[in-house]
């Protein structure tokens, strides 16, 4: 069931807060898009690259580039399924990703 307006605004606040925390440290310090995608996955806002691109009004190609960063360079997400024609990638946090998300969500 889609979130109502209040839920959605709360979610947006959570997401914004999490992105800000992630960006406070490497490896997200200079990569807002990777932080944004990771935060969206961690909060259950998006589950795939194209959904995230649509939600945030971004080009899918640019999101795909960050999927590579998060998967292959940071090891924080895994691609669970891929549509070979659209390149849409379904994503999940790895155990390291879960750990990183939990740390970031814990208030200092």
């Amino acid at each position: 069931m889609p979130p109502d307006r209040a839920d959605k605004e709360a979610l947006a606040e959570d997401w914004t807060r999490l992105v800000a925390r992630l960006q406070g440290n490497a490896p997200f310090a200079d990569n807002a898009l990777a932080a944004g995608l990771f935060a969206a996955l961690a909060l259950g806002i998006s589950a795939d690259s194209r959904g995230f691109a649509n939600d945030f009004g971004l080009s899918h190609a640019l999101v795909l580039r960050e999927v590579v960063v998060l998967e292959d360079e940071m090891g924080l997400i895994a691609v669970t399924r891929e549509d070979p024609r659209t390149q849409r990638r379904f994503l999940a946090l790895t155990p390291e990703g879960e750990r990183r998300a939990a740390v970031a969500r814990t208030p200092a």
Binding site: T16, D83, T86
Partner: protein
């Protein structure tokens, strides 16, 4: 009974659900973007991503590939998980692989390692990059540079192409056969004489402001699908779109926009044209002349009646020269000739001309249907003349627009892939590098083929492409390539051309445009491309490379260059490691590329100024030149002399195809499934041939050079096409296109006007 199971239901409109299903997409429920997030995230992404498909302008740089069926196909084709490793070559001899189709070869997946041909085992074997560069360099140093043909595909980025031409000119030749020789060369030749630059003069935004758009010899639904959305928007706001196309093409009739979700749900679509004319092959010049005749007559009548003139006196007097000679020719051309060559009636052309007269801003677009005839340059000059009459150039919503094929074919020419390079470019290269550049014109594609056939060419270096399939007379080309001492192919996937190795042959695998290219410091590199509207923009990869062994095209060119000409003049290592350094060099050499590295990093990049679009005509007369050319004495259609077994053939792409790459075996807009060896023909002509739908026929080229060109077993498909004209797929039908039949001044193969005899095959 004839088998016509391969002919199925045609799509009602281009695009639509079919396109989405074909792409395997699911539309998402619209959700409101999270407030404030977009700006922050977008601000961090300056690099963009250029669809490796067509050269149509891209207003949403980075996402358009998703909503364009062919963009999706192009990206998916490159991003395949399948691989062609050395073990593949160990299993298959080259002779065996030659029996495979290009479709099968390319669908094996991505090349992963540099490979060297071993003639003893007839197999490609792995080789190290350095060994490959060293051997190629040593061999190249042993040839006269003019004995080597350096081919370029329109896939090559500006950086790779610029570095390539630098290397080749330092090596000592201008032999640059390239894919534009086979497509829009006629546009370049005609427009340079007419307006002083061989490029179109419109921006994408002009399509939003035109009152009328004339589309000549073009099938955007398949070849540049994103153009359909712009045509549809034009008709929706009341503009007229007048299409001239030999075949009735779905995309030029209606288009369902995949980005309009409600329309997708209810199965709606909107028109992409308001008038559709089907001239005979080679008849477009006559059609334009007929319209011009009507415009002149209307102008005379208006003046006589004391009304405002139709033609733009002020523009013509200030900016053009030569109209009187052309007008005399137009008025001397009888309607009988115009109707005979075009296949359209005076009444048809009057309707079209009235649209032109009523329009205050008109764009003319064209593609291969115009450029691949004997008289293509003359036809494009006729289109330009027609547009000059009402000042339809150099102002908002008006202009000339040759629509290019491959995504960077225009850019490659801009950065120096030109067998007859402008003096200014060579002068600038000499100033920058401090060494002389070769000044003797080099070979275009047909001259390269001639040199290979005569044995004067010793080596072929291919920066992408599938030369042996893309060129006419494929069988002859195969024989010619076999005789070469050296062949080198830079490629992402295996294709037929690689299976025609010279005495020494290499296949060097490169990164595709979709793949992330990191330099030795781990910094992501971008490349740049130029679209049909002269917008130059940056593109960074989005996927991991298919293999750790792959090198970028830039790195491969630099490796070849270093091994061949050394690093005394150019520091190839430094160039290979940092595309910004290449762009800095380009900025110092190429006009309009100042501050290149900064300007390509803004969204959509920058517009490479086209003086003609601001009515600055850099011709010898400093004006736009009318061209006064007679119509052909006879078009090929007239040469067939109404013989029921003789036709004019055009080759073209299917919908599941991009140049020589065949993504799948269907052509759903034309209702053909699972088969490519077909011939589209008018049902009345089938009666004349006494063939039924699905029956097989043979085609023989009617030429007088003593070479028999024949194909057999092609199925007949009834289609809405003028009588006496037939069509079928490239590259299969290239075997019928004589390499020695080409456009006057353009040397473009006449792939849209091949005279053939058709006979029914024995059952």
């Amino acid at each position: 009974m004839a088998n016509d199971m391969f002919i199925g239901k045609k799509s009602k409109a281009a695009g639509g659900w079919g396109a989405l299903k074909s792409c395997g997409k699911q539309l998402l429920e619209t959700r409101k973007p999270l407030a404030g997030a977009m700006t922050m995230l977008k601000a961090n992404q300056p690099d963009g991503f250029d669809c490796p498909g067509c050269a149509w302008g891209d207003p949403n740089h980075g996402s358009s590939f998703e909503f364009c069926e062919n963009g999706v196909k192009a990206v998916a084709w490159e991003a395949t998980k399948l691989r062609v490793p050395p073990e593949f070559f160990a299993k298959h001899t080259v002779a065996e692989l030659r029996t495979w189709s290009d479709y099968d070869l390319e669908h094996q997946g991505r090349l992963t390692h540099p490979m060297r041909y071993n003639a003893t085992t007839d197999r490609y074997e792995p080789v190290t990059w350095q060994a490959a560069f060293d051997e190629i360099g040593a061999l190249l140093r042993g040839f006269d540079p003019d004995q080597v043909e350096f081919y370029t595909s329109g896939r090559a980025s500006n950086e790779a192409a610029f570095l390539y031409q630098t290397f080749v000119r330092l090596y000592g030749t201008n032999n640059f056969p390239d894919c534009s020789n086979m497509c829009h060369e006629a546009s370049g030749v005609a427009l340079i004489d007419a307006i002083g630059i061989g490029k179109g003069t419109v921006l994408l935004e002009d399509f939003e402001k035109a009152d009328a758009i004339f589309v000549f010899g073009q099938n955007p639904g398949t070849n540049h699908p994103r153009m359909l959305a712009d045509l549809r928007k034009a008709t929706e706001r009341g503009a007229q779109v007048v299409a001239f196309n030999n075949l009735k093409e779905k995309g030029l009739v209606r288009f369902a926009d995949p980005q309009k979700k409600l329309e997708m749900l209810v199965g709606g679509s909107e028109p992409t044209s308001t008038m559709y004319f089907q001239p005979r092959l080679g008849g477009d010049m006559a059609a334009v002349r007929g319209m011009a005749k009507i415009v002149f007559a209307a102008d005379d009548a208006a003046r006589a009646a004391g009304s405002a003139p139709i033609i733009d006196d002020a523009f013509l007097a200030t900016f053009t020269t030569g109209m009187d000679d052309w007008r005399a020719l137009v008025e001397a051309t009888p309607w009988s000739v115009i109707e005979e060559q075009s296949g359209l009636t005076e009444a048809d052309l009057r309707r079209a001309a009235e649209v032109y007269i009523a329009s205050n801003a008109t764009i003319a677009t064209w593609a291969m249907g115009i450029t691949q005839h004997r008289h293509s340059v003359q036809t494009i000059r006729e289109i330009a003349n027609f547009m000059f009459l009402r000042g339809n150039i150099g102002r908002e919503g008006a202009g000339l627009c040759p629509v290019r094929g491959h995504s960077n074919v225009q850019g490659d020419r801009t950065v120096g892939i030109n067998e007859k390079a402008p003096k200014a470019l060579l002068d600038a290269m000499e100033r920058e590098l401090g060494v002389p550049m070769p000044r003797t014109p080099g070979h275009n594609v047909l001259e390269a083929i001639g040199a290979m056939l005569s044995g004067t060419a010793k080596a072929f270096i291919g920066l992408g492409g599938n030369f042996a399939r893309a060129t006419p007379d494929s069988a002859l080309i195969a024989q010619a390539m076999d005789k070469l001492d050296l062949t080198v192919h830079v490629a992402t996937k295996l294709n037929h051309c690689h299976l025609l190795p010279g005495k020494v042959g290499f296949v060097l695998p490169c990164l595709g445009r979709t793949e992330i290219d990191r330099n030795s410091k781990g910094v992501r590199q971008i490349v740049t491309v130029e679209d049909s509207m002269s917008m130059v923009h940056g593109s960074g990869g989005i996927n991991l490379p298919a293999s750790a062994e792959l090198k970028s095209e830039v790195a491969i060119v630099a490796g070849l260059a270093m091994a061949t000409v050394g690093s005394t003049v150019v520091d190839w290592d430094a160039m290979a490691d940092d595309n910004d350094r290449i762009r800095d060099l380009m900025a110092r050499v190429l006009p309009g590329f100042d501050d290149y590295n900064t300007r390509v990093r803004v969204p959509r990049g920058f517009w490479l100024r086209n003086p003609a679009s601001e009515r600055e005509f850099r011709t010898p007369t400093a004006r736009a030149n009318f061209g006064a050319f007679d119509l052909p004495d006879q078009t090929e259609w007239q040469m067939r002399a109404d013989k029921p077994d003789t036709f004019v053939l055009q080759t073209m792409r299917s919908h599941d195809q991009y140049n020589t790459t065949v993504y799948a075996m269907n052509d759903r807009y034309r209702g053909v499934y699972g088969e490519r060896e077909i011939v589209f023909i008018n049902p009345a002509d089938m009666d004349g041939l006494k063939v039924e739908s699905g029956e097989r026929v043979s085609l023989v080229t009617l030429s007088n050079d003593g070479i028999e060109r024949r194909i057999t077993g092609f199925r007949v498909v009834p289609y809405d096409i003028p009588r006496g004209c037939i069509a079928g797929y490239y590259p299969e039908l290239n075997a019928l296109v004589p390499y020695n039949s080409f456009g006057e001044w353009s040397f473009t193969p006449t792939s849209k006007s091949v005279l053939v005899r058709v006979t029914r095959d024995a059952a």
